[in-house]
């Protein structure tokens, strides 16, 4: 039952994360939401890892933590540059890629 509770927590976190990504206008908030999603995935992996008694999930989780750190580093750097050029980080104003 413990596993189910972990999975439930993971699902809740995931949903919060997805909501944040879709609804927030602030780029930093979006990045934070992405972190939430990644960590919810970590939670799932660890839960299954405990359940099956193998260390594969733990290994994956470690990888994901490392990748998340890198991703946030890149993302924040981009946000910083955007702020320097535009004096804003509102995502609505950044629509140059409009086709």
């Amino acid at each position: 039952m413990l596993t189910a509770q972990f999975l439930l927590l993971g699902a809740v976190l995931f949903c919060i994360g997805v909501y944040g990504v879709l609804a927030r206008k602030n780029a930093v908030m979006v990045l934070m939401s992405i972190e939430l999603i990644l960590n919810s995935v970590n939670l799932n992996l660890l839960a299954f890892s405990v359940r099956h008694g193998s260390v594969d999930g733990n290994t994956f989780a470690l990888y994901i933590i490392a990748i998340a750190a890198a991703e946030v580093g890149v993302g924040l750097a981009m946000v910083l540059l955007i702020y320097r050029n535009r004096r804003t980080i509102a995502l609505d104003d950044l629509s140059e890629m409009k086709g």
């Binding site: 990504v21 780029a27 995502l91 950044l94 629509s95 140059e96 409009k98 086709g99």
Partner: protein, 789 residues
């Protein structure tokens, strides 16, 4: 006699130096890399690495030789006490120290690398390391100021690494590796002063001529491998490249005679090329274009004996393949005998002191081959040993003369004469070595050369014994001529203090790239002495050491003084004892050699007479040794004396007194003129190779290739051009214009349509993209769930 008593287990001693002899070639190889990368930055321009590595190798080689002597002593002592006196007809078997690692694997074949240490390998190891050390020390002075000083030492060191690697090769693959490294270094060092065209031509000639022979090495190795591999794998558990495996296979009686014969012939062709035997000897005299230390090390004492070494190393193969045991003339004896005489005759007409020595080397190599071909294994190997010392000494002395006596000239007739007074040390060492080469009694050459001649006669090759004796006469005579022209008589040219102007010097000595050392020579002018003088210590000390060895090296196997003096026979000659199969392969500390019982009867005959039984192997044929007799020695000494004296008298009459009856005789007498012309043109062999063979091969091929090019290839190209033009026109009109363009335009229109349709999706809003992503992921997850339930 009970079997248990008869089979004595003898523990052969070993030691660190013997176990790790494979380090010996590694040291100069590492030094080579160091010289190449750091040599120019070092205070002595890299030469310190070379000299130090050679001295280190020498120490290791001497240590190994010392432990080998202990090992042989231990085994023979134990054998004598364990087995009844008289039961042994041959020396007890002392196992070589064989270690092998896998080098690489290919197609199920395993190629090993390692060491095979026995008396023969150790003899060569010590000689090569020793001469290399002395020659490198000599070169410190001789090449001082040379523009490629560092590269010279690098190549010299690499050469030593290659030779040492070849000498301790446990299999044919490593042997070929070392053999080819030596060939490469020989090429680099002959062409050291490649700015002169003659030098680079000589380097190429040496390389290509030896290459012709090297084909035989590969073919012979291949023949032997494919015919021996099954046998050696089954009986000894080693591959068909393994030298002891090949030896045992050749002696086993299971080997196919034709494979043995053709393998031996092919390998001997390689030896002909490398060891300058007739008819491929022509490269060796030209190789004198290299610096003198190179001639001394590579082209007299070490590299050129590689062929002799190969025959000695795989002696069972040659013994069985060439049927050396019979007294019929075989290939090796024939080539050796011819080489002795033709090379010795050529030495008479040379003006260049180094070329005299080069032909002398060829002739002495002929002696070694003659000995090996006639079953005189030990004297031939012993001759390698003694010859190395006195011939290296002669070359270094010639270098000393040109360095300090004759203004970098090697021309005996133009620039030498009367140098004995000016250069006493050089002259003394030269004369000692000359007498040793001629074979005067207590000097080194007597013991080895006389043994060869004696054993050749003893083994039934009477005609070749006469060839050997006449060779001894010729050797004494031409060396006397060279000595007289160089050190006695009146001084001529540079030896008389005449200074060539720069241009003349180049014209006269174009062969030797003398200009490179002119910078060094100009320093002599500072103390106002342009004339000949004694060389500095770095040159004379190696000379003195080598001359001392030329005096005493023969005592290492002095047969006339009884069997106690025959150290080479005891420590170097492999035993022809039958051995249990395992003992020769196993190695390592505590290895036990099982000496099987020598039963009465058939086994008394020894290897090579009766094939070994199941589970036994032979590694060396039984060779007989001639009993030394003073009467026979007296004959050869008399012949040598006649050669020395008659040649001396002739030289005095001809070169100094200018006796009218002798001078110009070659112009007046038709027979002599013909002979002189034949010799002067080196039997027209060079002309034969270059004008006839190369032209016959190259010109028709060139013409045929030109015709083929003009008619066939051009025709094909032109036709192809025309056809492709027509095809291209049709393709342009039909395929390109209609199909391809249609497709391109159509895809463009399609892309534009879909782009327009999908355009609204690219809103530029990150949140929308995210929403699409998650929606897609959610749909995907839903589908997965539906499928799996």
């Amino acid at each position: 006699m009970l079997a248990a008593e008869a089979t004595a287990e003898i523990h052969a001693s070993t030691g660190w130096f013997l176990e790790n002899a494979w380090v010996i070639p590694i040291i100069p190889a590492v030094a080579f890399v160091l010289i190449i990368f750091f040599g120019k930055k070092m205070p002595m321009k890299g030469s310190e690495f070379g000299v130090a590595s050679m001295l280190a190798s020498l120490v290791l080689a001497v240590g190994a030789a010392w432990q080998w002597i202990q090992r042989v002593d231990g085994v023979s002592h134990a054998a004598h006490s364990a087995v009844e006196e008289g039961a042994h007809h041959a020396a007890p078997f002392v196992g070589p120290i064989i270690r092998e690692w896998t080098w690489w694997q290919s197609g199920g074949f395993e190629f090993g690398i390692g060491q095979h240490i026995d008396g023969l390998a150790l003899t060569l190891l010590v000689v090569v390391a020793f001469i290399s050390s002395l020659v490198q020390i000599y070169s410190l002075e001789y090449l001082r100021g040379d523009r490629r000083y560092t590269h010279f030492f690098a190549a010299l060191t690499l050469f030593s690494a290659g030779m040492l690697c070849m000498v301790l090769a446990p299999n044919m693959v490593q042997l070929i590796l070392g053999w080819e490294i030596m060939g490469l270094c020989s090429f680099m060092l002959i062409g050291h002063w490649w700015e002169e065209e003659a030098n680079s031509r000589a380097a190429l000639k040496a390389f290509f001529t030896v290459r012709v022979g090297d084909m035989g090495l590969l073919i012979g190795t291949g023949i032997l491998f494919f015919s021996a591999n099954n046998w050696t794998q089954a009986n000894l558990g080693v591959s068909g490249f393994n030298i002891s495996g090949l030896s045992a296979w050749a002696m086993s009686g299971d080997a196919s005679q034709s494979a043995l014969t053709w393998g031996a012939v092919a390998l001997f062709v390689a030896c002909i090329g490398k060891s300058g035997q007739f008819p491929l000897h022509t490269w060796l005299p030209d190789a004198m274009a290299g610096p003198t230390p190179v001639s001394s090390l590579l082209h007299s004492s070490t590299m050129v004996v590689a062929g002799v070494f190969l025959v000695g190393r795989l002696y069972p193969v040659f013994w069985e393949g060439m049927k050396i045991g019979d007294t019929n003339i075989n290939f090796i004896v024939l080539i050796g005998g011819i080489t002795i005489v033709i090379a010795a005759l050529l030495a008479f007409v040379q003006h260049d002191i180094k070329k005299v020595l080069a032909y002398s080397t060829v002739s002495q190599l002929g002696y070694m081959m003659l000995g090996l071909g006639a079953g005189a294994w030990l004297p031939a190997i012993f001759h390698i040993f003694t010859h190395a010392f006195f011939k290296a000494c002669l070359f270094l002395a010639a270098g000393s003369v040109s360095h300090s006596g004759s203004h970098h000239s090697f021309d005996m007739k133009k620039d030498m004469g009367g140098l004995a007074k000016k250069m006493p040390i050089t002259a003394t060492t030269w004369i000692i070595s000359t007498l040793a080469l001629a074979g005067v009694f207590p000097l080194a050459g007597f013991f080895s050369k006389d043994e060869i001649i004696d054993n050749v006669g003893h083994n039934g090759y009477t005609a070749f014994m006469i060839v050997g004796l006449s060779g001894a006469f010729l050797t004494a005579a031409y060396m006397t001529r060279a000595t007289y022209l160089t050190f006695f008589g009146e001084a001529r040219g540079a030896a008389a203090g005449e200074h060539h102007d720069e241009h003349d010097a180049h014209a006269a000595h174009v062969d030797h790239g003398a200009h490179d050392t002119h910078g060094a020579h100009d320093a002599h002018g500072d103390h106002g002495d342009h004339g000949p003088h004694e060389s500095p210590k770095l040159i004379t000390i190696p000379l003195i050491i080598l001359a001392a060895l030329a005096l005493v090296a023969g005592l290492a196997n002095a047969t006339p003084f009884g069997s106690n003096w025959e150290n080479f026979k005891k420590y170097v000659e492999p035993s022809s004892e039958y051995v249990m199969v395992e003992s020769a392969v196993a190695s390592g500390p505590g290895e036990s050699i099982v000496v099987p019982a020598a039963e009465e009867g058939a086994k008394k005959e020894g290897c090579a007479v009766v094939a070994p039984e199941e589970g036994m192997a032979c590694y060396f044929p039984t060779v007989s040794h001639a009993k030394f007799k003073w009467s026979k020695a007296a004959l050869s000494l008399f012949i040598v004396a006649v050669g020395l004296v008659s040649s001396w008298l002739f030289c005095v009459q001809y070169y100094t007194r200018r006796n009218r009856r002798l001078v110009g005789l070659t112009e007046r007498n038709t027979v002599l003129r013909g002979g002189y012309k034949l010799l002067w043109n080196k039997y027209y062999l060079d002309a034969l190779y270059e004008k006839v063979i190369v032209r016959a091969v190259a010109y028709p091929i060139a013409r045929a290739a030109y015709w083929f090019n003009q008619n066939v290839l051009d025709g094909i190209v032109n036709a192809a051009g025309k056809i492709s033009r027509r095809v291209a026109g049709w393709v342009y009109r039909n395929i390109d214009q209609r199909v391809v363009d249609g497709a391109v335009n159509g895809s463009g229109a399609a892309a534009r349509g879909t782009g327009g349709a999908l355009r609204p999706v690219q809103s530029g809003k990150v949140n929308q993209y995210g929403a699409l992503l998650f929606a897609a992921a959610a749909i995907g997850a839903l589908i997965l769930v539906i499928i799996n339930t």
